[in-house]
Subunit: 337 residues, 2 copies
């Protein structure tokens, strides 16, 4: 049993800001990173909450990120917003581009945001939920590092390439998912290794391209995508849309750029946003009801909608006014302040 | 071994037009359907080629489709084209809306087409390839009938919900995929049943919601999505974007509408198109090279890009000037002329 530490909600940001300041992030970047960590930690999303402060510090130590650079937001007369992070963390660029993305979506019915030249460590669900909270549907995709083999392959070519989606629901938490297209997260394999447990079948191959359940052999080899050749095709689509389409790196190129220095990978991100008012010809209420009927049919048969555990954690943590993080993480972070 | 019949390329359309005319389709609809069947049959895509003439005739016999109706294409000042098929087959609406979708994509960088109120039987790859052949990337999604259970569920709520994507490659066949988000196609289960073979594990549940490998129990129960809860989440996204977003039916509603009459399901379709020139800030050639490097890395390790067998069939059939279809199908179609 991991020993947990209670942390008051207001301490999440102050602790984050303190660590980020000491790590070398300027105030604007630190604020946007702290806001994201708060959102994740509030939902008990431990893997993308305060734990990621360690990666933020490592990324700075790796020496390539600019902790003070101001993103440049470009909004032409098309339906695309470009946010050039200019070698900084992605979050400030996203935050500054979000109002333009919303405006372009409300104007055109559909719009896209390309975030370029950014270091990226964060979950995508807070970003698609930033759009669904405005009544828009949204999809987000990023590459990562080429740790994942294509279906039928022998080595890593693809990133863990998450896909996130959020659909607004009136007076309810949205329908949201955010999943890696790799069968396993890389961090999960690390956990199996530390626990000395074999991996399930079908999630990894070794250096020679043969199936393996040995965590170290998997780390030396490659992960596989979820869902066989279909998951592999989806992962390639994400490479293309969040890479070459938007003039940014593939996972192969991102891995080369990092050259083993560690920290957050450097690449781009694409978000698509949809305005139901435009798409439905103004019949939003009728179509909301139609979507709700589908959700009800899913839930009524005992299946779960994604993200429900997260929403339950959010409600509980907001009510009690604190979150719990591992005591050891708390001590590590205190030492970094 | 199925006995095959050689059919000259020019006969694909003439045979189709003759069957469609007798079945009750007007000339405009028959031409658009025949063009699609030609595209599929040329690529040896037997499941969506001339075989589908049987479904076209059944759909007419079911009594709900209008074989003569003219679609209405609406292009407002946003980035969305709406094609109201008005109770006809989807293909004529798509064909008539395609130029506007291309124009809007070239203008805005990203645009969408919503096809509404259509009967739908066709593969999606010819439609996304109609866009990639113009240098645009494209994604397409449709619901179907609620034959597929959500992850953790006991009965059908979702359609087979295919997702198709195509990426343009200079002087080469595009990168294209088109897969059902169900683990199996419904037709595959029928084939297992006819062959008296058990299904693989994990593709279906029976009426009580228990896993089954019995084809008839699966047909009476529900299929499962590919890739567990991730495939299920993706399938729900497709329901939402190709249904309530665009003011059209979910797979549950489409199944109710059909009320067991058979033939093609009735629902909507959404296509998204992306102009690399806008998204990449004009750096198309550099980014094409980046995508090609990824494709090369995949192919070099012995993995296959999707659709390669189809492209090989196309080249072979164009060179020899004929396709092969099952003799029994040919005889059935002759009897329908």
């Amino acid at each position: 049993m991991v020993k947990m530490k209670q942390l008051a909600l207001q301490e999440i940001k102050s602790l984050s800001l303190s660590v980020l300041d000491r790590a070398g992030y300027g105030s604007a970047h630190a604020q946007s990173i702290a806001a994201m960590l708060y959102t994740c930690q509030l939902d008990d999303c431990q893997s993308h909450g305060l734990f990621r402060l360690l990666m933020c510090a490592q990324t700075m130590q790796a020496g390539k990120i600019d902790g003070h650079v101001a993103p440049v937001i470009e909004t032409g007369d098309n339906a695309i917003v470009r946010a050039d992070a200019r070698g900084g963390m992605s979050l400030l660029a996203f935050e500054q581009a979000l109002p333009s993305l919303i405006e372009k979506t409300r104007k055109n019915g559909i719009a896209a945001l390309a975030v370029n030249n950014c270091f990226h460590f964060s979950a995508l669900w807070p970003e698609v939920e930033a759009l669904s909270s405005q009544g828009l549907a949204a999809m987000a995709m990023v590459p990562s590092h080429s740790w994942v083999a294509p279906a039928g392959g022998k080595r890593g070519s693809l990133g863990t390439n998450p896909l996130a989606f959020s659909w607004p629901r009136r007076s309810r938490d949205p329908f949201t998912f955010d999943f890696a297209t790799s069968g396993f997260a890389r961090g999960e394999i690390e956990l199996y290794k530390r626990a000395g447990k074999p991996l399930p079948e079908g999630v990894a191959i070794d250096k020679a391209g043969n199936p393996t359940t040995d965590p170290q052999a998997a780390l030396d080899g490659a992960m596989l995508t979820f869902g066989g050749y279909k998951g592999s095709a989806l992962s390639i689509m994400i490479e293309l849309l969040a890479g070459p389409l938007i003039d940014d790196l593939t996972s192969l190129e991102s891995m080369e750029f990092a050259a083993g220095t560690g920290g957050a990978p450097y690449h781009g991100e694409i978000l698509l946003a949809f305005d139901p008012a435009h798409f439905s010809g103004g019949r939003v209420a009728e179509n909301d009801a139609r979507a709700e009927r589908l959700f009800a049919d899913i839930v009524d048969q005992g299946a779960r909608l994604p993200s429900q555990r997260r929403f339950a954690a959010r409600a509980r943590n907001l009510a009690r006014g604190y979150v719990e993080i591992p005591q050891a993480l708390y001590e590590d972070l205190q030492a970094m302040c």
